[in-house]
């Protein structure tokens, strides 16, 4: 490849370079696999290609897709956050409780998001300033956030929300659910931001070599804390949207969501070693997992078997990646 890089006049080499570059990106591989699922499934069952099925899949994966943005950024910086599922549940219940108490919708939403920011700030401070390992710190806040949601509601869902609140979660634009449009916009926005803004480029330096990042004058702790706050806010946003869609705040929502999000991000090319991964890749990971689940449901595969398949996909994706790397090393 390096030889071709030097040869700038030759047009065909540019083409082949583009192709080989594509083959080496996780995004394209995933896209091809997603297409493969769609093609195969559309032959197997006519219901798969229906608009209603696609809408259901798309809406169903919005919480994961929104949260994976934060998780991918954290993974690239060498961290991660296990509290996202709990923060989502907490914000959905708090927003619901605020609405029941008569707080206007915009104020309730903003307060819900602020709650996520606070949760992220706490995670960020525990991990950077105090120096607790991210696994332990976010395991702790995961439990605390879930606990608060359950205490506030005594374990019950909070329903009978004002009907106007369902607007965000249930309305459509040109036949596409607003939720999906919002999610896709966020994905595009953050994918571009991570690729092209100075702030987010720092994430990769931190994840690749934290000490080197410090010696390069990058304010590592500040960047890390902001990344955790962002993740908290995104988890809270997912919670608000969930409450709006279900018209209730559910303290038990998002159980084990953090692991699904992590799995999707890793399938999409992120790594727990840090320094790599993109938002687009992580999103495609979410789509891929959602489609596999959907396909299996359509094929009447039991939910227990689905867990086995998803686990196998995760391990295979990473194992394949390791083997490819070892080859090229």
């Amino acid at each position: 490849m390096s030889l071709q890089t030097l040869d700038k006049q030759a047009v065909p080499s540019l083409m082949s370079r583009a192709i080989s570059a594509c083959l080496h990106t996780r995004e394209l591989t995933l896209l091809l696999m997603i297409l493969a699922i769609v093609v195969v499934m559309s032959f197997v069952t006519p219901y798969f290609l229906s608009a209603s099925n696609f809408r259901a899949v798309a809406v169903g994966m919005t919480p994961t897709a929104i949260i994976v943005i934060g998780m991918a950024i954290l993974l690239a910086s060498g961290g991660f956050d296990l509290s996202v599922g709990s923060v989502m549940a907490l914000s959905s219940t708090v927003v619901a409780l605020l609405l029941l108490a008569g707080v206007p919708i915009p104020a309730a939403v903003v307060l819900g998001l602020l709650l996520g920011a606070v949760a992220g700030l706490v995670n960020g401070i525990l991990i950077t300033v105090i120096g607790i390992n991210p696994l332990v710190a976010t395991l702790g806040t995961m439990s605390i956030a879930r606990g608060i949601a359950l205490v506030l509601t005594e374990g019950f869902s909070v329903s009978s929300l004002p009907t106007a609140f369902s607007y965000i979660g249930k309305s459509s634009l040109f036949g596409i659910p607003l939720l999906v449009i919002l999610t896709l916009s966020l994905i595009i926005l953050f994918d571009l931001a991570v690729r092209h803004t100075r702030f987010f480029r720092q994430i990769y330096f931190i994840g690749a070599n934290e000490k080197a990042a410090i010696l390069s004058g990058i304010a590592v702790n500040r960047v890390r804390i902001i990344a955790y706050i962002l993740t908290g806010v995104l988890a809270a946003l997912a919670g608000v949207l969930l409450a709006s869609r279900l018209m209730s705040g559910t303290p038990t929502a998002g159980n084990a969501l953090e692991l699904q999000v992590l799995a999707a991000a890793v399938i999409g090319g992120a790594s727990l070693r840090g320094g790599e991964g993109t938002i687009l890749g992580a999103f495609l990971g979410v789509v891929f997992v959602a489609l596999i689940n959907n396909a299996m449901t359509m094929l009447a595969v039991s939910i227990y078997w689905q867990m086995i398949v998803i686990g196998a996909v995760l391990v295979c994706a990473v194992a394949l990646d390791m083997l490819v790397r070892r080859q090229s090393a």
Binding site: L6, T197, F199, R201, A212, S216, A219
Partner: protein
């Protein structure tokens, strides 16, 4: 010159890490347009001095003045804002990202926070252009050879428009041509009034580039000389404290049978055609610059890396080593290069560290005997005169030299017949260095075969019987003890034509190829 206000000045600064006083009332100043060399043995305090000027360590007492103004430097980001750039010994690049992005790590040209990739590329090309290097600035850094990465590292410090540049061993991975290019850049920079602090242990470099040289020893400042008014000998004598070590090379009559033999070991793309033999009683050096693959070749001999082709023989029998534990059974001991990350369990006691490779020796019927381990540790502490509060002290709290002694003792505990040791005295003080050399010589005299991997060429020249030189994964020559000097090894390792007087090296080299 003394009328000028120094760009940066340390006034009677001191710094301790734990109970270890690493900097003791040091004064130092850097004038505009000056290249000021900072020299000293490993552990003399050079890196700590640089660290204080780059905001990594805060002085315990004394203060730092920038252009005459007392300043507290909070962290590297702050140092950069104050116009201080630094190139560290260890490479600090993010491998997956492009050359251009690495040069401007965290400071990429941007409008409204959005990176201007075109400008980034152009500026990176401009900076690298000064080195006359054709590098594709869009290529990921981890595809570049180490020497090029070092150049990228230097370009990174230049990218900040610093007034003060700290260089910590910047040439350790560079070829002589690249060193020349670097020096002409440094001279250009001084014309612009930039001051450079240059840490190196290559005396020839210091005398060709620096205006002044300050010597540190054991955390104290010994002297500051103008390079035109001193000599290499004077500086070296000050660095080591007067007593110039006698290079007690061992008598070669102790040399016995071949214990370890490699025949054409290869791993395409990493190293090729490595053939060597180690005899009982012999200390052999394996020399190479950064990126020469010297360490991975050593690993291939110790079962930590499996070559694809070639044969490894121990006492004449072919062996297939797939792990270090397999190699240990065959009589090999391996002391790794990186003490802190690969060699020691930092948060465990001196005793735990000492017996980690020889637990079996202290175990009867499956029961581990602490008393036996305690005795072994006591013996090692006495033999190496290790300074530790007790053998229960966490090894983290020992000085680098004492840690290194324990790491060596740990492997001697396994009673190997063949010892492979990577950088035996990296970052240790002079006393520990002599002691480690002494112990290695004694072990060789007792019949051990020892392979010393090192980039410290003067060390190899004094310690070993003969030196094998590797460059880019190939053996390029062998230098006998009588011919070995810092320069002869460096020339061979860097691929420079040997000077005419050492024609025998050339002959040996061509004989080997």
């Amino acid at each position: 010159m003394s009328k000028e206000t120094p760009l940066i000045e340390l006034r009677t600064v001191s710094k301790s890490f734990g109970s270890n006083k690493v900097i003791n009332h040091v004064d130092f100043e850097l004038l505009p347009g000056e290249i000021h060399a900072l020299v000293g043995e490993n552990g003399a305090g050079k890196s700590t001095c640089l660290g204080m000027m780059y905001g990594l360590h805060e002085p315990d007492s004394g203060s730092i003045f920038l252009s005459g103004k007392e300043t507290v430097i909070d962290n590297p980001a702050h140092a950069q804002q104050l116009g201080i750039g630094c190139v560290f010994q260890e490479l600090s690049l993010a491998g997956g990202l492009s050359v251009a992005e690495n040069i401007f790590a965290g400071h990429a040209p941007a409008t409204f926070g959005i990176v201007d990739w075109k400008k980034l590329r152009q500026r990176a090309e401009m900076l690298l252009g000064e080195f006359n290097l054709a590098i594709d600035v869009t290529a990921p850094v981890d595809k570049l050879p180490i020497s090029t990465r070092q150049v990228v590292e230097i370009a990174k410090a230049l990218s900040l428009n610093s007034r003060v540049i700290l260089l910590d061993e910047p040439t350790s991975a560079l070829t002589p041509d690249e060193v020349d290019a670097l020096f002409s850049i440094l001279r250009d920079l001084t014309m612009r009034g930039i001051g450079i602090i240059y840490v190196s242990h290559h005396m020839s470099e210091i005398f060709s580039i620096a205006n002044r040289v300050t010597v540190l020893r054991d955390g104290r400042k010994i002297s500051t000389h103008s390079t035109s008014k001193t000599s290499e000998n004077e500086i070296v004598a000050e660095m080591i404290g007067g007593q110039v070590p006698t290079s007690a090379k061992q008598a070669s009559d102790a040399i016995g049978d071949v214990l370890l033999e490699a025949e054409a070991l290869s791993f395409p793309g990493i190293f090729e055609d490595i053939s060597l033999s180690l005899r009982s009683g012999e200390i052999v050096g394996l020399a190479g610059l950064m990126g020469s693959r010297r360490s991975i070749i050593a690993k291939a001999l110790a079962g930590l890396f499996t070559a694809r082709e070639g044969v490894l023989k121990i006492k004449g029998e072919a062996v297939d080593l797939r792990s270090l534990s397999g190699a240990m059974k065959a009589g090999i001991g391996y002391v790794p290069e990186e003490r802190k990350t690969d060699g020691l369990f930092l948060d465990h006691s001196v005793r735990d560290n000492l017996v980690a490779a020889s637990l079996k020796k202290h175990t009867t019927n499956g029961i581990f005997s602490t008393a036996s381990a305690r005795q072994a540790t006591q013996n090692a502490i006495e033999r190496f005169s290790v300074k530790a509060a007790s053998q229960d002290t966490n090894i983290r709290f020992l000085s680098g030299g004492n840690q290194q002694k324990i790491m060596l003792a740990k492997w001697l505990e396994t009673e190997p017949e063949i010892l492979i040791i990577d950088e035996p005295t990296k970052g240790v003080d002079v006393g520990a260095k002599f002691q480690i050399h002494d112990e290695l010589r004694k072990k060789a005299a007792d019949g051990m075969a020892i392979l010393v991997v090192s980039s410290d060429f003067p060390e190899l020249a004094t310690l070993t019987d003969r030196i094998l030189v590797v460059r880019e994964g190939r053996l390029v020559g062998e230098i006998g003890a009588e011919m070995a000097t810092d320069d002869t090894i460096l020339n061979l390792a860097a691929g420079v034509e040997a000077p005419p007087q050492s024609t025998s090296n050339e002959a040996e080299r061509s004989a080997l190829q």
